[in-house]
Symmetry: C2
Subunit: 184 residues, 2 copies
Amino acid sequence: MRNAEATRERLVQAARRIFSERGYERTTVREIAAQAEVNPALINRYFGGKEQLFAEAVSVDLALPDLSGLESGRIGLALAAHFFRRWEGAEHDDLLRTLIRTAATNPEAAVRIREILGRQVAPMISRVAGSERLAERAYLVATQILGLAYARYVINLSDDDIARDTLVAAIGETLQRYLTAPLQ
Amino acid sequence: MRNAEATRERLVQAARRIFSERGYERTTVREIAAQAEVNPALINRYFGGKEQLFAEAVSVDLALPDLSGLESGRIGLALAAHFFRRWEGAEHDDLLRTLIRTAATNPEAAVRIREILGRQVAPMISRVAGSERLAERAYLVATQILGLAYARYVINLSDDDIARDTLVAAIGETLQRYLTAPLQ
DNA sequence: GAGTTAAGTCAACGGTTGTTTACAAGAGGT
DNA sequence: ACCTCTTGTAAACAACCGTTGACTTAACTC
């Protein structure tokens, strides 16, 4: 019955759920513990505190696909499609939403986002775009991806009457330009 | 010496500053009062509470320029330039940043953003793009603008080594496409 | 200059937060 | 069955939050 590993995992999963809904500040450790059906004190025992639990709960892997094989004109589209699939798929990956929500008021979460962009997005771009204007391209891609996620999954900007394919095509074309089109 | 109108204004301005830095939850009324050099109780006297003070502190007017006179191919660029000017100009308009920051965890602030987009951005788009695919165009424009503001002014994504003109040109071209290019 | 009203202060309340401490109970080895 | 270490619980702590009500002080009227 008593299984430290299992309750630890239950805490992490409950934390992911609630952090993603309310962000860091509005989430209470008591609520997490209640949803995990354990005692709040265990959060301190297992993680050391709320902050460390958060750090462990959100370790985002964007799982960016290998785009190097694609014909170069379709990379943007593939990338856009990937993110939609990722955010709306069965696995329902809320981690990036959690981070975006929280980073708005929590400096540490902001650092995490910058790390993800630097460690996952930037290398991907260098693979498909060479090293030409890398920083600028990464920055532009980031603004569009973050903006899409923010509008759609954080403030729930209404997307009724908008076909998903239309969105994917339009955003994909933008990403394509940011990745490969000549700048300035 | 004692001037209700003046201290009221001091409170609003202090509130704008701190809300924009920390967001709603991490901002305390005591801190606002301290920065305004008045007693915390006055916030309740003058505004009714923290929430109403916030509502009064953030009433954003995007001051979108009249773009109908421009030649149609330059609207996107003008729009992008407008936002950069707006956010980095002398007036240093932090209100939208405050809202974006706060809307991440505060549903009411999210409503405000949706209102602003609906009441200010959407009509502007209908003026320059007719009524063709209005909802989709507004949505796309919103994702790019919000993403830019979020990356640049909320999580302070590093933009060293990136010329402002390059950004304006690239973002402007995106907005242009979202506004006028055929969709899907 | 006394009296009235507005403006500002002070201290406390009730509630919630993250965290800690002391204790109880289950699991496993001997 | 007894002891021991791990796992879990209960209660309280100390700090902070927004808010309130009673009080004091300044400004203005007559």
